[in-house]
Symmetry: C2
Subunit: 193 residues, 2 copies
DNA sequence: AAAACTTCTTGACCAAAGTCAATGACTTTC
DNA sequence: GAAAGTCATTGACTTTGGTCAAGAAGTTTT
């Protein structure tokens, strides 16, 4: 498995020596998931979190009525999983599925705790990452409350054009909180402009 | 200012000695905000974060179209502010307003960094809190995408009945992502059942 | 106590999005 | 290469929520 993307990700955010990287890598286990494979399901107690090396995942809730709502797509260089449930040993409410054949580097609960405790650079990176992620989620919540479906779609088109190529439209629709039909009509309307 | 609520909050989450608490308290500054006072505005570089001792705040975005969307209400025993922007020294996109006369304990950027660096109990508490908050925001995002306005209102009624007593309905409406008129009609419909 | 203001409710109407069903274009499977 | 399956589109219709405007009830100001 190619680990250079993970190194790149770390180097972009912190100063890290080769030794430190190797130490961390030794705690990881490469894992490949098949297309459509369910990696984690609501009710599970997560055993690991992961870093996407290649491929694409979706992380989503299923409401009591059975409605699926994707809260994010994890492409290359993203982390995914449910860290809180993993650390606490409590059942997660989230689901995680591979949308393509996906290569990942996973890290188990025990190894995560070890790295967090023993590698200051990793702890710091985690804390900063957590704060950034928080900002992102708050933003997304604000936008989901304020913006029209068309606005949301246009933003996604601008911010993640490649994602729209690789993911089926009905998944994009549930990410935006609308039906596939409505998304199709929005796309038509835009193309006519 | 009564600081016992803050002590209570810390004790609920960690073992902390009186000395440690006093040390932390020395870094805080009590501040009272008037009803409707704007505490923080989009574009500001936040100088502090705060803990609510008594009163109620709303934290919200204002979209390009001028639509206000509240992402949370901070009542007694909540933290508020924009930690990420404060730490990075970047302008926040969030607004924070007092909905009542509100007593708070504020902590400045410098003192926050000091506490985070020097008080292990505080760092740990922050990291755990951050993870919990993350889960909360992800949850809220999922619900905002999946649930009907009525479902969301009923959940709020169940989870935070007192909040609905103290906050005007038009604020509740923007928190739910609907207009005050729609909320009024939902309430009527429910009362007829 | 009157006037001004704020908040909530209600009605009439309109626009946006959901539902259901059919169709067509591709892919995949056998 | 036929059959089955998947996905996006479109149409007809319904439902939901938004908009605009008026009014009622309660507060605050003067």
């Amino acid at each position: 498995m190619d680990t250079s993307l993970l190194l790149k990700e770390f180097q972009a955010r912190t100063n890290i020596t080769s030794e430190e990287f190797e130490q961390y890598l030794a705690l990881c286990e490469p894992r490949r998931f098949k297309k459509n494979e369910i990696i984690m399901q609501a009710g599970d107690i997560p055993k690991f979190t992961l870093f996407v090396v290649s491929g694409c995942l979706r992380q989503y809730y299923v409401s009591a009525e059975g409605v699926e709502r994707i809260i994010y797509f994890a492409e290359e260089r993203w982390w995914a999983g449910d860290l809180l449930s993993m650390r606490n040993g409590t059942p997660t409410e989230l689901n995680l599925q591979a949308l393509e054949a996906t290569d990942t580097l996973t890290i188990s609960k025990e190894n995560w705790e070890y790295a967090f405790k023993n590698f200051p650079w990793y702890a710091e990176l985690h804390i900063k990452g957590q704060q950034r992620w928080n900002g992102k989620m708050q933003n997304q919540l604000g936008q989901s409350l304020a913006d029209s479906p068309e606005t949301k779609y246009l933003r996604l088109l601008k911010e993640r054009p490649k994602l729209l190529q690789r993911v089926p439209q009905y998944h994009i629709a549930t990410y935006l909180g609308i039906t596939p039909e409505t998304l199709s009509r929005i796309r038509k309307k835009i193309s006519l402009k």
